[in-house]
Amino acid sequence: MIRKIVILSAGDWKNIRRDPLLIFSMFGILLLAGLVRFGLPELHVFLGNHTTFNLQEHFPLIVSLVLLMTPLMVGMLYGFVLLDERDEGMLLYYAVTPLTKFGYLICRLVLPVIVTFFLSFAVVLFQGVVDWNLMAFIPIACLLALQAPLITMVMASLASNKVEGLALSKVINLSMLAPLIDYTIKHPIAHLVMIFPMYWPAHQFISMSSGNESFHSIFIGIILTVIWFIGLNRVFQRKIG
């Protein structure tokens, strides 16, 4: 099984090199990180001159949201690959090969994990406005990397085709704001956003930047991600069954 997955993943890599889409999305995320690096300090000065608002206090939140964009974009990209292949009827062909449907799904989920892991490092290296340290960021990058296949799974299991995928992607975009909601709204009901796994890597990043060394958020995040994953996998199996 592993060998088959490696073969299909290698095929994917060739596809990516031929189709510059993933490169484009990487470029998009790095552009955003660049905007943070060069734009945020400017905006801070601008706001300081015109208002009493201190933007610098919120840099960790902004960077954490940019970090969340990485799994979001990569996850959606693969979600649409899955939906496109399903609409074209490719899934049937994969299912009759020794790979099986399950193996196919694993393939489509492995690459987003790897890509997101490295891309989140690229973002954090490039942003340059929030202090971070390598040892504390590795678990955050791992948790971020796990969010990408989760988003792919949300799309693959809840959308029946690419059109529903597009509608769903609008809603998924909103989930990215979970950390922002909890950050800005003090009402206890805002804590409800903690059920979204996307909340936890951002939360850990913000607390890391304020010098907190505990890893609680990582553990909660991993457990929540796994629970969501199991639930979504059930829906997915029923859908393609």
């Binding site: 189709d19 889409l21 484009f24 999305s25 998009g28 990209l77 649409f80 690959v81 939906l83 496109d84 609409d87 074209e88 029946s160 085709n161 690419k162 059109v163 529903e164 995928g165 597009l166 509608a167 769903l168 609008k170 809603v171 909103l174 704001l177 800005t184 709204i185």
Partner: protein, 232 residues
């Protein structure tokens, strides 16, 4: 009326595939956001939201619709009926513009109640949605996958969103006034300020010219697309 039948089917299809639910959720979110931000920013932000999201939803969704219909081999069946490309385009544009208008109006009515001018606002949303949906058809018939569609459309949107620089008074250039989006932004601002007759004429003429060009282009591209990719 064939086109009305088609329009009904398109709206039903969009309803079934969750467009309306997705936008209900997104609009509810925007309303909460607008209620939370300081009052001084509400007007500008609400225009910005309507201009960048509901007004261009057609652009985004029409890509998925055309690609899905191609994958499901709908076109070869659809065009053995007396249906004409004009009717197909009109139905797609009207159904998506209907959703865009309903969403934008609901958002503005909740946030600004009766304190905005409905006519320029509605005109702006309808023109914007029509233009972008037709532009979306042009992109959709040239791509193979949703991902490619999304990236090409993102690149196009950047060009057409340039007048936002003017909107925020960061940089002004007469060149922005060639773009339909500058005209639409002016009309949208007309929701809160009195527009002169010349502004109305400018905005409507520029938008109609762009829409006509992009419609003719969409018609031709679609014909080519059917010939090359669907009937072979």
């Amino acid at each position: 009326m064939r086109v009305l039948e088609l329009l009904k089917m398109d709206v039903q299809f969009q309803l079934r595939h969750g467009f309306y639910y997705a936008y209900a959720l997104v609009t509810a979110f925007y309303i909460c956001l607008l209620l939370l931000i300081p009052e001084a920013f509400v007007q500008t932000t609400s225009v910005l939201i309507v201009f960048t999201d509901p007004s261009v939803l057609g652009f985004f969704f029409v890509g998925g619709l055309v690609l899905l219909e191609r994958d499901q081999s709908i076109f070869s069946t659809l065009y053995v009926t007396p249906l004409r490309i004009h009717e197909y385009l009109i139905s797609k544009v009207s159904s998506l513009t209907f959703l865009a208008t309903a969403t934008s109006m609901f958002l503005f009515l909740v946030i600004h109640q009766a304190s905005f001018h409905v006519v320029p606002f509605l005109l702006a949303v309808i023109l914007c949605s029509t233009f972008f949906t037709l532009l979306g058809v042009n992109v959709a018939v040239r791509v193979q996958t949703v991902n490619t569609f999304l990236y090409i459309s993102a690149a196009l949107v950047v060009v057409f969103y340039l007048p936002l620089i003017n909107y925020f008074h960061l940089y002004e250039s007469p060149l922005f006034y060639i773009l339909p989006t500058q005209a639409i932004l002016l009309l949208m601002e007309g929701a809160f300020v009195q527009l002169s007759l010349s502004t109305y004429v400018y905005a409507v003429v520029v938008s109609i010219v762009w829409i006509s060009v992009v419609y003719a282009w969409a018609y031709q591209s679609f014909q080519q697309f059917l010939k090359e990719k669907c009937f072979t």
